[in-house]
Amino acid sequence: VTARRRSEGSAPPAARAAALAGALADKQLVPEGFLDGITARAVESWSPRNGARVVARAWVDPDYRKRLLADGTAACAELGYAGPQGEYIVALENTPDVHNVIVCTQCSCTAWPVLGLPPDWYKSPAYRARVVREPRPLLREMGLDLPETVAIRVWDTSAETRYMVLPLRPSGTEGWSEERLAALVTREAMIGVARVP
């Protein structure tokens, strides 16, 4: 089955997507305007800038941080971030001793409302396989060198839970505004493959 899938998967992704869209349209399985609508929503509503605002709020507001760690879904919704793939969000708190990193070993599940659609590397078989087998060397290759004294916790998105990492606030940012802090937070940091610089 694997070999067959590989040979069938040799057409460029855009051609395969167009063929699939055509087949679904022929069978009248996709409501008119659905694809345009969801594409627009993905661009406008699902962005890692949302998650960055959640992180910045948690850095400056200890009560919000508590709420975020206790009920990520509700805390993200407080800032207006909810919807598909955000029905059950769990925020994972990095500490000086524990570093969290997330993956979907099955496919590409991501908390769309706060992380946006996943980047290509996140969906690659290499990342999905290696981050659970050899997280420390892989993260080092990706530019995040963690000493063995820091525990690495890899969270596999195997059910309906969607994760986001709450990174450590960088030193030297005392007194910064929420907006300025949010500008530091990258999607990679919220996946757990980078620090916040």
């Binding site: 769990v90 050899e134 063995e148 690495i152 916790r153 195997s158 059910a159 309906e160």
Partner: protein, 93 residues
């Protein structure tokens, strides 16, 4: 594993895993793992859903493995893997 708010406890992995999870759990078979206190709301049970069987939901749990228990040849110390597993995949030790 049937109650909410459980403390971290050692269990062994059930053999009654669905096909997709089989490769993952196969490696985990016999390995010890820790069920976290966190209990998620009931989610659709994928084994039944994948076969088009009547809808049923089960709670899931964050289950944490020492990575070296799963991949002794590759994983290093101080690394753990947390997987969300459905209630039916687990049995008490």
């Amino acid at each position: 594993v049937k109650t909410h708010g459980i403390d971290a406890t050692l269990y062994t992995v059930s053999r009654d895993a669905d096909q997709w999870h089989l490769s993952y759990l196969w490696r985990a078979n016999g390995a010890t793992y820790v069920v976290s206190e966190h209990v998620a709301p009931p989610f659709s049970f994928p084994d039944a859903a994948a076969h088009g069987l009547p809808h049923r939901t089960e709670h899931t749990y964050h289950v944490e493995f020492d990575a070296r228990e799963l991949w002794a040849d590759a994983a290093g110390p101080n690394e753990t893997i947390v997987v969300d597993l459905w209630d039916g995949y687990l049995e008490g030790a």
